[in-house]
Subunit: 356 residues, 4 copies
């Protein structure tokens, strides 16, 4: 009810503020018998953690996940998987300057109004540090769905866009550069832009595209829990996300039906794929692809006018260690959330017809 | 689990295929003591129903909702509100021609693969007729939230867009034209476009913008159930929707933080509102606005190449009574879903802090 | 949230007051491909309905269930099964005498205090008429679980108890008498007792024993959703139930471990079965048996002292058509609820380990 | 879904095996603004922990709970409360002798069959150690419900019963003796019995009675989530519980309606209280009381015949450190679960009618 759980069958419930003792979570509903690759999990953690390169925040957080239950001799037992990630590098004093102010376009004001109390240190629960738990659960979900290929990448930063269809990209190059853009020309331009933005003490937004391949036909539930509706919710629940589109997306809204319809091949695949791999909320076996818009990070390395908790005008100082552009680090988060959505539907799909 | 319920507190569970005896639903969790305005409910039903004007389908469905429980002497009792809407005008024989074929970009193929069985008549459960139940529940949610103003309207059809900010529009004009566009010039152009498209036996997509005003501060739950994540899911669950953005949306992804941040006024309101009335997933009291993309309807009044259930090439004939453009009729559905999302968070908000 | 749904996977949501237009429900999550035996469903309805014999209420309710969706050509489609049962025989005027009074040991007072409003006609939502919806869903669940045998029977009325273990009973005799007691001697005594009680305008309590056989090993979830915890909740949710015990039950609390432990046979079955077929909340393949206590019906055919809604002393008149003993009619309800519990765990069991 | 969460609004999700690194949980939905008394929480932990007295297991577990989130400067923030309790005293080697055997009346066999894998050390997830997490959450729920008095006590051990109504007992004496029985004469007899049983290497069952006082009118949801149905489920989910009854319970099943009905006083209270403080599933303001049956612990300090995982006959040796009678230590667990049930309904009750 309080919004800290995701998934009805393969369920992640997370906890933790950025400057408490630890963050962590419980994964309930992971089937028994899954042999876990812990290195692969840690690799995903590394992809998300701060301080990886010159274009992201220099905060160092080791983000070592410690599993406490649900695994016996490396294999899931069907019981809940509890885990914690200690907050080793928090410097709470860094945040005393924001104790009594509401930073612009942050959650300070709304948390205070909603709860009447706020752990102001590092944004508390509203910090993107929470997404580390999503990456843990997503990494396990990926292992459950070993047949499915999940590839996200940065498709734009500011006004620099990859101008190729995803089919022309080599996803193995995504991790080859600090922007996580598989198109090397665009990657270089994006990197330069971010460096420039950073020098100005500013931030910039961008988009991530995600492609899901080898998804079995039949995932998704009709009506309210359509596959793309859950994907949309999952993505919109990530900090800083402002938009989601799949298949033809907003462009599709300009098209005519005669252009937009995907004609079938005899085997049930389709010649075009403006549907984005989903029809009636259910996967049809074609590639699923979607795009996620991230706003620029609100924390600037500039002074900004704002108010304190009493409504007085004050200056929010630009200090701390923050990302000039969040999208490269959000790539593993997008993949993790996609994996969680798919894992849920994949499990549910085992019970929606008899004689399966 | 099976995706036919929406909302955790104020919950709509719906049932029904387009050509069964009836569709209907149960609204569970509506607080006791709400005096219902049944005429207002029926007005919403009229807005959604087919056959309202020259630019929508000529199917006549009366869509009279019959309440069966949960209401005593016109007032909600706190017990579940059951309702049915009879399918009076279904012509099942109209559909015998699609019994064994998979229509392009419909849910025929995916339902068949998922369930191994399909009520092919009129699309069965995948028919947009299901949205009538959403409108019933949304109409009640609107009455619960009498302070909040919910206004959706058609903001584009094909390549015709309203080129004004929503603040310059007069929402009282939305219902003055058949397109449900409050900008009269754009409305006329859209109407002409739809008529032309219709004559060609084709269809066209469009977008709906929705503005939520007077929303109390504090609605939305952090992390997974952010207010905009639930709005996004709600919208993406509507048939034919391909994208959702709120506040600055996809444009925000091109911006710099110094441009995007909303500076506070002393009263906690903000000078700009690129955040779209939501910060950290929680309403901040400013207007919430979002945009929803609808693809063109897949059913054309043209013959289309497709396959039958055995994979043979066949021609899907263009017949029946269908909308050339679904967006005008989707306006009340967008509003209904927004109302359901808000009602849930509005109720939840009563229990998230002590001494409320 | 509001308590009108049962089951997380195979979910019944019900609605309806005893004197509204209809009661009904939605069964969501029934797998596709189940060929329904409608006669078997109606047979269960007949078992529950009033007016079956001399020892139950003479109210005549036909309780014909009308399915509205989710079934195509007699087979479930995987979409929600909506159904209604019309309230054809309600005589609302019968209840004007209780409009302003709180009947002793009924829910009149608590509903009024909880909701501030109450549909007083026939007890409204608190009427046991609501259980008809459970019987519909249970009848379908039984068909899903065709391998499992579910047999409930009346094991005591007042102080008359069957003094044999269930293994000595022939369940095919349960329906042979109006009390639904498979032990013919006890049945005759119970019937006489009920007739006598009825003549006095009084009512009497009793117990129902239920035996579940052929249950696969592995049903039930550990910790909070233990199989017997869900069975207990299911039974305690039936009107008038005051207690639940399974296996050795309250007697087990007097025993020593050396007496109580069930010794294994080589095949995993156990020599004794004081565990009642469940160990650690999970079925072990042995018979599951439990006992449910029903209080005497609160409505008497006698005048009773009570209060009106203002707190004045008044006399509640004994009139209307009521059961002197509710347990015979509760037998199919107990079976239905057991079937719902089992159906949920049976479906869940398909996803709790890999390579199933 | 997988049964490791309890409560829909104030939700405990727990994890942990008895011999993993730690057990723990997440409490989601605790309202913001509750000032926590950590000493009171630790006191509850002490009541449950092993090694408290001569009549319980001599295992020493410190059971120090460490809160990781959701609390700021001693006050709940509305965000999830994560906590861990380290397993400091586990001796996994103690359990190598049960690695390949199924102990009688334990969950070894059923876990293995259900999941295909089992953490055999100390019973793994099926260990009652899991209940420590319930006590943590229950202790916080108690603080939320500061007005409500929750008193559980041992009402029988083996054949020794308190033969007084609860109204004649002084609950302040419950903690004065090692059996947690407020009737000193009975307590002495029970203690002697347990010592004798222990000397024999045997175990014995018992019952706990729990009384809830000062419960506001209106808690509980009608139909499936009746207050006593949730209490019953909560109790039946505790290890070793075989039965639950409230109010008149199984005795009520022998009574006549004219004896059983509770006559109202003018203020809405009732002269008698066979209803047990609940009518129609909703609290009526009178004392709620219920009784819970616990079977004798299955682990004996005697050798027992059993089978190994291959079905061969083997002897399960009686060793380790176990309770001869679990009921004294279960008293705080019963209270904790009652508190969780009440907290959920207490919160839900804030949203079930308008103008509250």
């Amino acid at each position: 009810m309080a919004g800290n759980s995701f998934g009805k069958v393969f369920t992640l419930t997370s906890f933790g503020e950025s400057h408490g003792a630890a963050i962590g979570g419980i994964i309930d509903g992971c089937p028994a018998g899954l042999k876990l690759d812990f290195e692969a999990i840690q690799t995903e953690m590394q992809r998300r953690k701060p301080g990886q390169s010159a274009i992201v925040t220099q905060r160092k957080e080791e983000d070592d996940v410690k599993f406490l239950s649900g695994i016996f001799e490396g294999v899931t037992t069907g019981t809940p998987i509890g885990f914690v990630i200690e907050n080793t590098n928090q410097k709470s004093n860094d945040y005393s300057h924001i104790k009594n102010i509401y930073r612009p376009s942050h959650a300070d004001y709304t948390y205070d109004k909603k709860y009447g109390i706020r752990d102001y240190r590092g944004g508390g629960r509203s910090s993107a540090r929470e997404t580390a738990c999503r990456v843990v659960a997503g990494a396990i979900a990926k292992q459950l769905l070993s047949e499915i290929k999940i590839n996200a990448f940065v498709s734009s930063v500011g006004n620099i866009f990859i101008d190729k269809p995803y089919q022309d990209l080599d996803f193995t190059k995504t991790e080859s550069n600090s922007v996580r853009c598989p198109d090397m020309d665009s990657a270089a331009k994006m990197e330069n832009l971010i460096k420039k933005i950073r020098k100005d003490g500013d931030t910039v937004g961008g988009t991530i595209t995600c492609v899901l391949q080898n998804v079995p036909v039949g995932l998704g539930e009709p009506v309210f829990d359509k596959l793309h509706a859950e994907l949309g919710k999952a993505m919109l629940s990530i900090n800083a996300v402002k938009g989601f589109e799949y298949g033809s997306g907003f462009c599709g809204a300009k098209m005519k039906g005669s252009e937009h319809n995907d004609v079938f091949n005899p085997d049930g695949s389709t010649k075009s794929n403006l549907s984005g791999g989903i029809q009636g909320g259910i996967s049809n076996g074609m590639d699923i692809y979607f795009r996620v818009a991230f706003k620029p990070v609100a924390t600037l390395m500039q002074n900004q006018e704002t108010i304190d908790t009493k409504g007085n005008k004050v200056i929010a100082e630009g200090k701390g260690r923050h990302d000039p552009c969040v999208v490269p680090r959000a790539v593993p988060i997008v993949e993790a959330m996609a994996a969680l959505v798919l894992a849920n539907f994949w499990l549910l799909n085992k019970i929606n017809k008899l004689n399966d």
